[in-house]
């Protein structure tokens, strides 16, 4: 059923009894052309683009729990393409363009909201770095504005301009950045892929990869073996575990990132704002909750929960930036596990195993990348060559030195 104001009106009159499941709860078939492991945003988007752009529909997405149970369901919903390096910028811009057309593409309102992403700077050196980045964006056809302090104040007057430890000097604004209703991304892609025939198989955990003569032929799962011509890993957070089933080690560590939401408030902040003097970013959801986060906890973890030092660090930054938050209450905090790669950038590539494809290393930036990640991964799987905007995300870049290190933090995942 197509979603629209008309179908909603009709169903309202019918007591909403005619709505069908958004996607079929499929049982796995014996064989697929492409088997995507991971029913998160990236895996589901990959399935959608395989089906819609490449006509490959004998596809299953298998998920160990329920779809959208990973980071697509536990992030801070920000989208942006304000990247510095040529390996990244075109890719994230491609993603942002896909976001801009997402509702029409998948007939699902994921509430893409381009409210603007504002990165604050607090020193001349930081301003110079943001100018460098903003210019790189503009050269890549991405919108960017370098604001001075008064321009920032006009946008977000309630921040601490007077008594802050690290005075706000200005900011780099990407107006087209913003936020998206995160869960809806998974559901929308699932529904769109399902409608083109993709099987979405929940509660199906992969227990082994079947590899013969250097080629993958299928997977073992908790619901039995499934044969596949091509197998695609989209399990960020658990990439190393799956890769280990193919005998691979990756330049990746799994880390936990926490996120926070406040009680619902009447609108107070329109944009996404990031603090340049601490690890902190904040926006407000359509339901009124302030959604915010900070740095990763910083140690390898698969536990999907963090600890107090980082929580307190985030709250200190919150108060450092916006002292009016003191009496606002944090309602909920949670953690997600993510692939932290050795240069802070992702991998979309073949693996040494024929037919096995890898989509990994998204660090804490995977959500905004969801459409382009799926789009480019589908391209790679369908055509066996990288999409032009994702050519830099190679697995061998660490060996060759072609790292994509936005922060210049080096081969230490927890610093990216």
């Amino acid at each position: 059923m197509r979603y629209s104001i008309f179908s909603l009106a009709a169903q309202t009159l019918a007591g909403h009894r005619g709505w069908k499941p958004a996607w079929r709860d499929a049982a796995p078939k014996a064989e697929y052309d492409v088997l995507i492991i991971g029913g998160g945003g990236h895996g589901l988007a990959t399935a959608h683009y395989l089906a819609s752009r490449h006509g490959i529909t004998n596809v299953a997405v298998i998920e160990k729990g329920y779809i959208g149970s990973g980071n697509v369901g536990r992030n801070t919903t920000i989208i942006r393409s304000n990247y510095l390096l040529p390996g990244n910028t075109p890719f994230y811009e491609h993603s942002l363009k896909l976001w801009e057309g997402l509702e029409q593409d998948i007939n699902y309102n994921a509430m893409v909201s381009q409210r603007g992403v504002l990165n604050l700077y607090h020193s001349d050196a930081q301003r110079d770095a943001y100018a460098r980045r903003g210019n790189a964006m503009r050269l890549a056809g991405v919108d960017a504005d370098l604001l001075d302090r008064e321009q920032v104040r006009a946008m977000v007057p309630f921040l601490n301009y007077e008594t802050g430890r690290f005075p706000i000097q200005g900011g780099l604004l990407q107006k087209r950045g913003g936020s998206v209703r995160h869960d809806a991304v998974a559901w929308g892609y699932a529904r769109a892929a399902d409608q083109r025939g993709v099987d979405i198989v929940q509660n199906c955990e992969v227990t082994g990869l079947t590899i013969a003569n250097g080629r993958i032929t299928g997977v073992e799962t908790s619901r039995g073996p499934i044969r596949a011509k091509k197998v695609a890993l989209a399990v960020a957070g658990n990439s190393s575990r799956l890769a280990a089933m193919a005998g691979m080690r990756l330049p990746i560590e799994t880390h936990v990132l926490q996120a926070f939401v406040s009680e619902g408030l009447k609108p107070v902040i329109d944009n996404v704002v990031t603090y340049g003097a601490g690890h902190f970013y904040i926006s407000q959801s359509d339901k009124g909750g302030l959604v915010f986060g900070g740095d990763i906890d910083g140690y390898n973890s698969y536990a999907q929960r963090g600890n107090l030092p980082v929580i307190e660090d985030v709250m200190e930054s919150a108060m450092g930036l916006w002292p009016g938050l003191g009496r606002i209450r944090m309602l909920r905090h949670w953690g997600g596990v993510m692939d932290m790669s050795m240069d802070g950038s992702p991998i979309i590539d073949h693996t040494p195993v024929d037919g096995l494809y890898l989509n990994a290393g998204w660090c804490y930036g995977g959500f905004k990348a969801t459409p382009a990640s799926g789009f480019c991964f589908a391209h790679l799987i369908a055509r066996d060559e990288p999409h032009p905007v994702a050519t830099a995300f190679r697995l061998d870049r660490f060996a060759t030195g072609r790292v994509i290190d936005e922060k210049g933090a080096g081969a230490q995942p927890n610093l990216h």
Partner: protein, 1000 residues
Amino acid sequence: MSTKQPFRTADGGLIDRTQPQSFRFDGTRYEGFAGDTLASALLANGVRLVGRSFKYHRPRGILSAGPEEPNALVELRAGARREPNTRATVTELYHGLEARSQNRWPSLAFDVLSINSLLGPALTAGFYYKTFMWPASFWEKLYEPLIRRAAGLGRAAGHEDPDHYEKAFAFCDVLVIGGGPAGLAAALAAGRTGARVILCDEDFRLGGKLLAEKREIDARASSEWIADTLAELAGMPDVRIMARSTVYGVYDHGIYGVIERVNDHLPIPPAHQPRQRSWRINAKRAVLAAGAIERPIVFAGNDTPGVMLAGAVRAYVNRHGVLPGREAVIFTSGDDGWATARDLAAAGARIAAIVDPRPQIDAGLTALASRIGARVLTGGVVSAASGGRALRQVTIRDASGREQTIACDLLAVSNGWNPTLHLTSHQNTRPVWDEAIHAFVPGQMPAGLSVAGSAAGRFSLAQALEDGARLGSQAAADCGFAPTVDAQPPKTDPEGVALAPVWRVKDGKGRSFRGKAFVDFQNDVTDKDVELAAREGFKPVEHLKRYTTLGMATDQGKTSNIAGLAIMAEQTGKTIPETGTTIFRPPYTPVAIGALAGHHRGQDFRPIRLTPTHQWSKDQGAVFVEAGLWLRAQYYPRPGENDWLVTVNREVLAVRNGVGLCDVSTLGKIDIQGADAAGFLERVYINGWKALPVGKARYGLMLREDGFVMDDGTTSRLAETHFVMTTTTANAAKVMQHLEFCHQVLWPDLDVRMVSVSEQWAQAAIAGPKAREVLRGVVDAQHDISNEAFPYLAAREITVGGGIPARLFRISFSGELAYELAVPADHGDAMMRALMAAGEPHGITPYGTEALGVMRIEKGHVAGNELNGQTTARDLGLGKMMSSKKDFIGRLMAGRDALVETGRPSFVGFKPVDPNQRLRAGAHFIGVGKPAVMEHDEGYMTSVAYSPNLKHWMGLGLLRNGASRIGERIRAVDPVRNGDIEVEICNPVFVDPEGARLHV
């Protein structure tokens, strides 16, 4: 009093009737008593309507008497102290309290957006996912702003929070969470062993559920047992009782987050006291005795003000001396609700009916009913409540489906209790279903935590006391404290716990539309929404929650999750445990952001580091700038200098033509000693160190192991086995950590001993042609600092000012004849004053980091903007420093293809072709005549400055093949500042490229 507080009982309750407290709600003045909550005081005054719901703006009253309250949320206090979404049920009344209802306009009684209620049929769960897509641009321009405005509840204060917060850390053997019967028994048992015990309770009065009940322990009123227990605990030196303290989270290794509301019961915190204190309690063991939360029943109009939880009704009657209604109906699926009938009747309310769906009722209960004159309807249900802004009647359906209405102003609903097990699932472990009590109970527990009484699903008072004593004693024993010989657990009066829960009452066969039946009150999730979610495939509990927003409101589903699960189970034909479990994320109740930040806000966000010469710089009129944690003098404006550039130009020219003085104390200084010190430096720096003579300094560059540049600085050899390394200001701690890593992890066998001495030394640069003459005025005479005796790169220990130990280094960042003089920090202030005095005849000029930066750019020295973690030694023109005769950190990875390929951006200088044009750092280089797009991006400008010597702007940057393109022209394109100018590529050393001035 009674006219003022018409619903106050004549006597009784744990309130102090001698202490009236005046307060305002929506501008109207009321009175309550000390010991009231805002909710009990409102009820005492007959205020039923206290808020509007989130989506449909339905009128809402008070449902509960505790932290689970979904409806009675108010904006507490005013102005900068306004606290939105504050639960009236846990707000301690104080004199002068001011509260406002929220999410309504123009008033609570007449709310325009209650029209949403009429649109209700369309506004089902997830309706927004299905629409607002056309036309595409309308979502952000029209629909979303409307949704945003309508959403949210209270309003944030628009101003800085004027109150203070603190953090605190505590340690104990046994933490007891909850001060009800189980918690008190646990604390007592643990305390008696001599263990260190902390007892936290979120309430302002200890006793927990006993406060709401008329119970007997050892044949005495339970209040006496509470008083005795508290008295005994108070006498134990290592027992700490923390009331008004909520344990909100369980973290790894026995760490519990606790918020102590130190002064929320006062209008304004007293001087020198915080509003709240955020504790991190480290406990070896903990006993969770958090009690239980009562469950509502889903039926039409179940959100009408006047529909309350039966246990809450008892709390208001027994604890607060308030009648929540005079004409009551009780709807109870178990024995517990009957106690409400009893207590209400005892307090003077009329019990119109007791509706119990169970076909058979214990004879004792029916006897009770006849004693209080209540009709009993067994096998029946309440199928609807109505009245709009206040309950007027309920519809009762009997076992045969016949319906009748009964007028009433209070409906007390009892449907059993859910253990307050939230903390047990904070480490992602799931509760398990206990069919015997129809509730989830704690499953796998976080290490060190045990659970007692109602929180464990053992609801009777006897069980609570028994569990508490046993687990408190066990927890202490686990910490090595021998159990004391215990008396028998105290005896309690009997109580009924039988229960047959009813999750929802469906519409009758006639399907007459009676209105919405709410599962999640605050988020306005109805039973129909849950059915729709099931129909659309959102069956896993997490999908259910996310699709319908069930359990996502400020109460986090404390009263709603289980009913939602039950209705989903009914839709899918599964049992509740097959449908899923609820898992609770921290915090247990919402926590003020300010509390978790504590002291660290404003200027105390992070420590400020001041150099030993700070006061001197202040006296000189310096403008300071943040450099990491440091404050450094940026420039020293003089009267009449209105532009910083004027000042900086003056300072630069003063150095180049005379002499200047600059504080460089912030550089990292690491003392390195040991037989293998030189060998160690060989391994961490890319260049050689073994041959450095004693008394000499050398520039060193270190890489990360991945081959990119980490840091640079000069290191001096003070003795054969003694070096002092300097690091950049920014990287001082990072380098220390790196060196410790190299020593302890990589090469533990080297004899190298390191300690930071950054704090010990005040260090000043004296730079300019007259530097030596100035220095002669402070260096003790026996030290020969002539050019011959103390040449460029000399580094020695000397004395100044008549015997003060000092270190003198002839090194130069400015490119002039220059020295850095270090003295013990206590003498730093005097050093600057002495140098100023000695330099006065030469016109010595203090200069700051800006002038320092200009001169380093004039000299083409790399600094932070070039050492950005993305550059190699070769990129920076320092590749020749890399020794091929030794191994060093980063050597191999620096040799990777991409790091050595030609065409990498390399370090060069730039000057504007038109000398009047200004350069900007961050501009990118694009070939002349080429389009300004990424494909033609050839690098970027790292640093720029105006050179008052050259009288034009100059820049440093990284340009593809830069070193081989000297003399070419290229464009510096700066779209974010609308800049696009032609520049000439040049040698990065703009002034004195031969370095002659260094050696004079």
